[in-house]
């Protein structure tokens, strides 16, 4: 278990592309941090910088007490789970899990014991003598996990480990990985493009976009107080509604109606989560529902509010129909952004 500190860590590729703009943050001992963002946002590069698979252009990286900038991946005392699992196809599960220990010249009986323990923990005991090609996707995923935990590293790195699994298995493995990390208490960095994975697994989320960190916070902070319109629209499904409004004499005005108080003057982007717009016969605002998406537990109403599209999420027992609808908004749940920079006001 170790603390990981990044100080102005930066990656520029030889062709001049800046994949990671100077990034600074600290991951506490035992913390589960998820790097999330769209493809090409630099999250995988960030992970590979920590792993030592990419050279650091600038900045300082600490793992535990050591500066590891120029230390080989093998000597950083880390373990990594790859998207395609990177299992050795010609070796049995037992050999795959024990390979890292064997390379470190650990005694055979200790390897045997550690592999058995890891296999027991991951329900792989019956599959130890099979080859990866004889396993299902979920089992391969577990072997990759086993290979990581058997080494007892300072730090776990996960590079989109669930993206090759089907939806059902993904949900199951998500819980298993989280539970395992809790039990072992190893500091973990997890990369994903799936915001649901990020929300459900993380102690803290780091949202990245265009090589830059947009926001660092707990899932709740990131969800309720997005730092930018990018975070607001990336986190949460359906995404936060972003509406153009204006601030006039200390009030936010949308479609001629005041919806909240805000100091300043000029245009503003109002962010409101779909579940914070509530159908209410006595509500102050009128919207026009154009389409209803049935999701079972709840419904998404697609509507027009003051000429702008909005989504409203309602519970399954709320009666809704296409046509005009009166709604109320939870004023405390509103976010305001500068329309020019996209940053939170």
């Amino acid at each position: 278990m170790a603390q990981v500190t990044l100080n102005a860590l930066r990656k520029i590729y030889p062709n001049g592309y800046e994949a990671v703009k100077p990034a600074s943050f600290t991951i506490e001992k035992g913390e589960f941090v998820v790097l999330v963002g769209p493809s090409g946002c630099g999250k995988s590069t960030m992970l590979r910088l920590i792993a030592g698979l990419e050279d650091i252009t600038d900045g300082v990286l600490h793992i535990g007490e050591r500066v590891v900038n120029s230390i080989d991946p093998a000597d950083r005392d880390i373990a990594m789970v790859f998207q395609n699992y990177a299992l050795y196809p010609h070796m049995t599960v037992r050999k795959n899990i024990g390979y890292g220990l064997k390379n470190r010249k650990i005694a055979k009986d200790i390897i045997h014991q550690k592999v058995e323990e890891a296999a027991h923990l991951l329900n792989l005991t019956d599959y130890l003598d099979r080859k990866p090609s004889q396993l299902s996707g979920g089992q391969r995923q577990r072997v990759a996990m086993g290979r990581a935990i058997v080494r007892d590293p300072l730090l776990f790195l996960f590079d989109e480990p669930l993206s090759n699994l089907d939806a059902k298995l993904r949900n199951q493995m998500r819980i298993e990985i989280k539970a395992l990390q809790r039990r072992l208490g190893v500091t973990s960095v997890y990369v994903t493009h799936d915001q649901v994975e990020a929300m459900t697994m993380a102690d803290r989320i780091i949202v990245m976009n265009g090589g830059q960190i947009e926001q660092i916070g707990t899932p709740s902070e990131v969800y309720h107080f997005p730092a930018s319109t990018f975070v607001a629209s990336f986190m949460g499904a359906p995404a936060m509604n972003l509406l153009d409004a204006s601030v006039e004499q200390g009030a936010v005005v949308l479609g001629g109606q005041t919806i909240a108080a805000l100091a300043g003057h000029g245009p503003v982007t109002v962010g409101i989560r779909p579940e914070d717009i509530v159908p209410d016969a006595h509500g102050d605002h009128a919207i026009e529902v154009t389409l209803i998406e049935e999701l079972g537990a709840h419904r998404i109403l697609h509507a027009i509010w003051a000429g702008q599209p909005v989504m409203v999420s309602v519970a399954k027992d709320v009666v809704a129909a296409v046509g005009p609808l009166r709604v109320a908004i939870k004023a405390a749940a509103l976010s305001f952004f500068d329309p020019r920079t996209g940053r939170r006001l």
């Binding site: 080989d72 950083r76 373990a79 790859f82 395609n84 990177a86 890292g100 290979r147």
Partner: protein
Amino acid sequence: MMRREWIYAWLLVLPAFVFLITFTHLPAVEALVNSVWTTAKGRRPSMFVGLGNYQKMLQDPIFIKAMINSGLYAALTVPTSIALALAMALLVHRPFKGVAAMRMAYFTPTVLPLVAVANIWLFFYAPGFGLIDQIRQFFGFASANYAGQPDTALYSVAVVTIWKEAGFFMIFFLAALQTVPETLREAAAIEGCSKWTFFRRVTLPLIMPTTLFVSVNAVINAFRLVDHVFVMTKGGPDNASMLLLYYIFETGFRYWDTAYAAALTVVLILILSLAGLGQFYAADKRVHYK
């Protein structure tokens, strides 16, 4: 209805079948048959001798010499060309500036006809003014006639084969190396696996199917490719570079002892079949097919 489909089926395979039988199966059977008869001469018709031709081989010093030479030749060319091919593939399988030119340079000997290659090497070996002799003379060594001396002729011929074959086999290894996923290398790097260990424990096992394929081909070629012997040494001097297939040619088409040549051919085919089967059998347990 069934009958009709069967007729169609037979008609469809007929052309291929006719050619295969006429030019492959019939000659093979005929060779087998001929090998147990004597060659017909003007004054003496062909007569049945059973295994006589085969017994004759055991007393034929040139045959024994050719067998030893062929074995030595295979033992020299097969491992060397495979090792060289793998080494070249490892050198050029990652992109760097000029990699395409480098790959082409390695591959060039393959596209040249073997007879042309033999002529090039004949120049290299030529005593007095050949490339090798010029280098030797530059360093003050005496002139040497590699292809013309009994103790070096076979090696001179073997070197040409290796030079020609390594580039061809490299292509297969190159393709195989590209299929080893990069993430395996990265996973191994994190697990503290040295480059050499990774090559030995991961890369080599993963490209084993290719190695097997290449080695079967190399063995077959070692017995099959003798074009350069015609150009360079003609099996000489004093049968020093006599290979089995060249001996078959000499027996059959220079001395017109076709029956004996047929028997020799049967032996050659037997050796090749056994070598091929043996390789598949021996390697089967160590080859990991994906």
